[in-house]
Amino acid sequence: MIKVRNLTFKAGKRNLVDNLSFDVKKGELLAVLGANGAGKTTLMKLLCRDIKPDQGEVFINDKAITAYSLTDLAKTRAVLQQHNTLSVSFLVEELVMMGRYVHFDQQPGLHDHEVLKQVMIETGITHLAGRDYNTLSGGEQQRVQLARVIAQIYDNPNACLFLDEPTNGLDLQYQQQIMVLARSMADRGYTVICILHDINFASRFADQIIMLKNGKKVADGTPLSVINTGNIELTFNIKVKLMASEDYDCPLVFPAAAASPHMQGM
């Protein structure tokens, strides 16, 4: 469970994140939407304790993140960042085991090996175990990184999972796989916050959507309640059309005619 209260982060005079407050319940997936520069990445950094807010506080399970020790924090939240490059190459199983580093001293224990095996099965990367990470495709690499992050909090169902644009640069199949995994983590009780670009993916997988613009909240609520042309135009400066989806409550979003004045300016 995550509570964010009056979170503000300034860069010079500009507020990159501006007095932001929201809650995410245990077992829910929150999608954060917003145009480039809306403050999504800054928000993620604040949630991870990478940077200190100028005002406000983030609470995980009712405890301020500043009150956590480094290792307790690592056991309570795991982060999948946008860019993951390895300076030296590791085997896939060695890389996933890094997620367990906070749980053992020098050598992994029996339990860590069990978690490793289980996570690799669940993320569908068992067949990659002995492969060199740098020889994998982008989609495979992202799945391996996600497995590492899941392994970190695998035995703490009260933990949080932060995903920063996890589907970036992946083809549709991998995008789908990553989001299904994120969803299944929420279904198992984890609190998941995910920055996304694709509105339809967000409404498909999230319980709650927050739209950001200039560091401020434009909308906050269930997909059905926030996905409308007004909110989207406000957030992304584009006109869109909605189309009812056959098997889902929330409408699909697609760009309006390309010749609209807004689109020409882009």
């Binding site: 993951n84 300076s87 906070v102």
Partner: protein, 349 residues
């Protein structure tokens, strides 16, 4: 660590001991293996049989054994700090000599000699070696910190910046060292030349004792950093998210690596490329896991430097080739090979 890597570590240890034995036996005075065994068992009180010449014992205990041990210590120091520095900078090309650590140590050591610091002149015997080591350590620490600060941006080393910063720092320290050389008298000149070429010729029980703490602390300390170094391969913020205290780890590694390199340079001069090629070979052939690379670099570095010293002191006997020349001759082609293979790897991406 898997059974395989444990097995390889054992093999490397056996290799190191074998080279130590061979190096103890070969030289102007030849010692055969049974004589060596008899010497050791006689002096440790295991046997009262004396199956060796007194002259052999004198050579072994006063000259060869301290020299072999000095080689082992310095090789281990260079190998292990090379591995740790490469992990810390997230770059396989980082090397104590290349990025200015060794030249910083040299500058400070030479400064002590040429400027004839009063306190230093009053020190004799082992204390002068200790002070020299500490001063070299400080010099190495300063240059490392400068290069690190310049090369790091947003938690990543920019490789060109790193190498250029190293180049610049090397040029600057060399200029100062050159200036001191210009001021130096004949006796001092000899010592300075010794630093620039690198040699184990100064080996004695005093140098070994002086070097011991500077090498033993990193040898036992740095392997404890292995897990953190693995995590650092992902990036600094990623490592932090995994629960690693990155700031602390960085400080410990820099202090320990410069400690080992600084003291080595103070006592044996600049010996290039050991710290570069040893970890690289191990990563290429076995695994990049620092839990293996760190201790294995110490052992293989010790073995290789002891072996190289054996060649250096026998190849042009009765004269002696400075070992720094030898390691540079062997190391440079390997270095070029690494650059070319890195280039090809990047071209594929």
């Amino acid at each position: 660590m898997t059974g395989k890597t444990k097995y390889i570590l054992m093999l490397l240890l056996v290799l190191m001991i074998a080279i130590m034995v061979v190096s103890s036996c070969i030289g102007a005075v030849t010692i055969r293996l049974p004589e060596l065994v008899s010497m050791i068992s006689y002096h440790t009180g295991l046997s009262d049989q004396q199956d060796f010449q007194p002259q052999q014992a004198a050579v072994f205990f006063n000259l060869r054994l301290p020299r072999v041990i000095l080689g082992v210590l310095i090789g281990a120091a260079l190998g292990i700090s090379g591995a740790a520095i490469q992990g810390l900078f997230r770059n396989p090309l980082a090397e104590p000599g290349l990025i200015g650590i060794s030249s910083g140590a040299t500058l400070f050591a030479v400064m002590m000699i040429v400027l004839e610091i009063k306190l230093f002149k009053q020190l004799t015997g082992i204390w002068s070696f200790y002070v020299l080591s500490i001063v070299a350590f400080i010099g190495a620490g300063i240059t490392t910190t400068i290069v690190y600060r310049i090369a790091m941006k947003n938690g990543k080393t920019v490789i060109t910046t790193l190498l250029l910063a190293g180049l610049a720092i090397n040029a600057l320290t060399n200029a100062f060292t050159g200036f001191l050389t210009y001021l130096a008298n004949d006796a001092q000149l000899r010592s300075i030349t010794f630093w620039n070429l690198g040699s184990l010729g100064g080996a004695s029980w005093q140098t070994v004792t002086a070097l011991l703490p500077f090498v033993l602390i990193p040898i036992f300390g740095l392997p404890l950093m292995s897990k953190s170094l693995n995590a650092l391969a992902l990036g600094e913020s990623q490592a932090q998210h995994l629960g690693i205290n990155v700031k602390l780890v960085k400080r410990i590694i820099i202090v320990m690596a410069t400690m080992a390199v600084g003291a080595s340079v103070a006592l044996a001069g600049i010996i290039l490329f050991i710290g570069l090629i040893i970890p690289h070979i191990l990563r290429m052939t076995v695994t990049a896991d620092h839990r293996f690379v760190i201790p294995a670099s110490a052992i293989l570095g010790a073995a290789l430097l002891t072996g190289a010293d054996l060649i250096a002191r026998t190849i042009v006997a009765p004269a002696e080739l400075p070992i720094g020349i030898l390691t540079a001759m062997i190391g440079t082609p390997v270095f070029l090979y690494i650059i070319i293979s890195e280039r090809n790897k990047n071209a594929l991406r």
